[in-house]
Amino acid sequence: MKQLNWRVITTHTICIIGVIFMSLPVWIAFATSTHSAETILRNGLQFWPGSDFLPTYHEALFVEGGVMKSVLGITMLKNSLILGLGFAIGKVIISMLAAYAIVYFRFRLALPLFWIIFMTLLLPLEVRIIPSYEVVSGLGLLDTHAGLIIPLIASATGTFFFRQFFLSVPDELLEAARLDGATAWGFFIDILVPLSKTMIAAILIIMFVVGWNQYLWPLIMTTKEENYTLVIGIKQIYQILADGGELPQYQKAFALTILATLPPVLVVLVFQNWFVKGLVESEK
C-alpha cells in the first residue's frame, strides 16, 4: 500500500513537472500579451495577466495598421485557416486516391511506385523548394491560395497510413461489392471512405496542424501582405519590432502568437476522441 502511494506520487510529480515545463511559456506569452507596451518595455515578461486584454486583441485582429502595415489580424487568421484546411483536405484526398490505386489495382508497378512515394519522405519541401517555386511561378500561381497549397499536398505519410489501413480491409468486402455490381469508384466512395472515416479524421487533424504551422514555403510564396498567414505575420511583426522606430508593440506580437496557437489546440481538443480512435483502432 505504501509502495503504491509512492509510485503514484512519483509518477504524478513527473507528469506535473512535464505539464508545467511545456505550458509555462505559453502562459507567459498570454499573460504578457495582456499588458501595455510600456509595462513590458519597463518590466519585461509578465507572469500575471494585466488589464489590456481587450484593447490589445481587438487592435491585433480588427484594426488596420494594428499589427502589419495594412493587413488585419483576422485576415491573416483566415489565410492560415485556408492554408491549414486546404493542406489537410488536399493531402487526405490525394493520399487516399494514391493508396487506393496501390492496394486495389494490381498493376505491376504498384509496389515500386509505393516505395518511390515512400522515399519522398526523405525529400522534404525544403530540399526542393527552389524548383517548386520555379514551377509555381511559371504557372503564374505566386501569391495565390492554390499556389500556396498544391505543391504541398502530396503526402507519403498519408499514403502510407491509408495503404496500411486498406491492406487490413478484408478482401471479401471488395468481392462482395463486385458481386453487388459496385464500380471501382463506387467501392471507393460507398465502402472504403466510410470505413476509413476515423483514419481520415486523424490524418486531417495532424495535417491541419502541420499545414497551419507551415513557415518557409508561405514565406517564399507570398509577397503581398494581404496573403500573409499568422505564422508569417508573427515573423514580420518581430522584424518590425527589431527595425525600431516607435515604441515596440511586444504585447501584440504575443497576442498574435497566442492567436496562432489557438486553432490547432482547439482542433486537437475537440477532435481528440476521433484522433485516438483513428490511430489505435479501425472499424471492420
Binding site: 471479401e172 468486402l173 468481392e175 462482395a176 472515416k197 472499424e283
Partner: protein
C-alpha cells in the same frame, strides 16, 4: 432457374499453384450441388471461378449456355455468401441488403419491397436498422443470405457459410438454407469441408481431391458406392474402417487374419479392405478380435474404438476399427470383442491407385 456447365476448367495461380486441374460438370436448373473435400483441394477456387472472382486459366464456364469466362462478376448475375459474411460494416442491415439493387438502378420503392420481403423470409425484419456489429453470428449469417436472395440471382454460391457458427446453430442454419433453396428453387453451389453438411444438403455431391472431381453423385450413392478409396474415407461418419491386405487367390490376407468371401482380385498388388462401422457385428465365429480402447456414447448408439489383434499394420500404426453398435453395448476397456462383417457390403481398393476393385 439456370444451368451451370463447366468444361475442362483449370486454374493455375500466378505463383504456379495448380488449384484446379480439369473439371467437367453439368449442373441442372434448381439443383443443389455441394463441393466437398479437404482443405486446400481447390473447391473454393472452383466456386470463385463460377463467381468471376478468379480468372479461368483454361476451359469454359457457362451459365444458361452463355460462355461467361470473361464476363464481370456483376453481370453474371450470381450471389455469394462468404464464410466471414463480408457484410459492409458501416451500413445497416437494410443498407447491406439493398446495396446490390441500388447499383442496378432499381427504384427505391421496389428495393424497399424486396428487402422487406426477404427480411421476412429470413426473420430479420426486426433488425433492418441495426448495423452488423450489433448482431449475433447467426443473425449476420441470415443478413448475408438476405443480401444474396434479394437480388434473385441465377445462381447462389456459398463458400463454407456455416463454419463460423457454433454446432447447434450450424445444424439450424443448414436446415434453413435447404428449406430456402427448395422454396426459391435457385441453382446453388455450396462449398464445405464438412461431410455431414455435404451429405445433408446436397442433391448431388462432388467430392474434390487435389484439384479434380473424384466422384459426383447423390449423397447416398457416394456413400454406398464410392469409386475410390478417397471418396470412401471422406464420406461417412464415423469414417470407414480400413484394413491393409493382400489377396492369395482365395482369401484376403492381413497379418494373421484370413478373410474368406472374396474372389477375382489381383494377387500382386497391395489392397485395402474397407468396412463401414455399421457393417460390423458381434459374431463369435467372426474373423476380427477387437481390443476395446474407447467407448463413445452418442445416445442412441455407441461407438467402440480399438485395435484389431493380429491384423497387418500400416507402418508402425496399429490398425484401428470403429464399431457402431447399440446404446446398451458397454464392454470393459481392454476386453476383447469378436466381430464379423457383412462381406457383401465390404469394399476392396487398390492401395496405390485408390481405385475400387470390388
Amino acid at each position: 432457374m439456370s444451368k451451370v456447365q463447366l468444361t475442362n476448367v483449370r486454374k493455375t495461380y500466378p505463383n504456379g499453384a495448380e488449384a484446379v486441374r480439369g473439371v467437367d460438370m453439368e449442373i441442372e436448373s434448381g439443383e443443389f450441388i455441394v463441393f466437398v473435400g479437404p482443405s486446400g483441394c481447390g473447391k473454393s477456387t472452383l466456386l470463385r471461378m463460377v463467381a468471376g472472382l478468379e480468372s479461368v486459366t483454361s476451359g469454359q464456364v457457362l451459365i444458361d449456355d452463355r460462355l461467361i469466362n470473361d464476363v464481370s462478376p456483376a453481370e453474371r448475375d450470381v450471389a455469394m455468401v462468404f464464410q466471414n459474411y463480408a457484410l459492409y460494416p458501416h451500413m445497416t442491415v437494410r443498407g447491406n441488403m439493398s446495396y446490390g439493387l441500388k447499383n442496378r438502378g432499381l427504384p427505391k420503392a421496389e428495393i424497399d419491397q424486396k428487402v422487406t420481403e426477404a427480411a421476412k423470409m429470413l426473420r430479420i425484419g426486426d433488425f433492418l436498422d441495426r448495423q452488423p456489429s450489433q448482431l449475433s453470428g447467426g443473425q449476420r449469417q441470415r443478413v448475408a443470405m438476405g443480401r444474396a436472395i434479394v437480388r434473385e440471382p441465377k445462381v447462389f454460391l456459398f463458400d463454407e457459410p456455416l463454419s463460423n457458427l457454433d454446432a447447434k446453430l450450424r445444424v439450424q442454419m443448414r436446415i434453413e438454407i435447404k428449406r430456402l433453396q427448395r422454396r426459391m428453387n435457385v441453382t446453388s453451389i455450396y462449398v464445405t469441408h464438412d461431410q455431414t453438411e455435404a451429405m445433408t444438403l446436397a442433391d448431388r455431391l462432388a467430392v474434390v481431391n487435389d484439384g479434380k472431381i473424384e466422384q459426383m453423385g447423390s449423397p447416398i450413392d457416394l456413400y454406398n458406392n464410392p469409386a475410390t478409396l478417397f471418396v470412401a474415407s471422406f464420406i461417412g461418419s464415423p469414417q470407414v474402417n480400413l484394413l491393409p491386405a493382400t489377396f492369395d487367390g482365395q482369401h484376403l490376407i492381413s497379418g494373421d487374419l484370413k478373410l474368406s468371401g472374396f474372389g477375382d482380385l489381383p494377387t500382386s498388388t497391395e489392397l485395402v479392405l474397407g468396412i463401414r462401422p455399421d457393417e460390423l457385428r458381434l459374431d463369435e465365429s467372426g474373423p476380427f478380435l477387437l481390443r476395446v480402447d474407447i467407448v463413445e456414447q452418442h445416445g442412441s448408439d455407441n461407438l467402440i474404438y480399438g485395435g484389431v489383434l493380429g491384423a497387418m499394420n500400416d507402418g508402425d500404426q496399429e490398425t484401428e476399427f470403429c464399431f457402431k453398435t447399440s446404446q446398451d453395448m458397454l464392454p470393459d476397456l481392454d476386453s476383447t470383442l469378436k466381430l464379423g462383417f457383412n462381406d457383401e457390403r465390404a469394399m476392396v481398393f487398390n492401395k496405390v491407385t485408390g481405385e475400387r476393385l470390388r
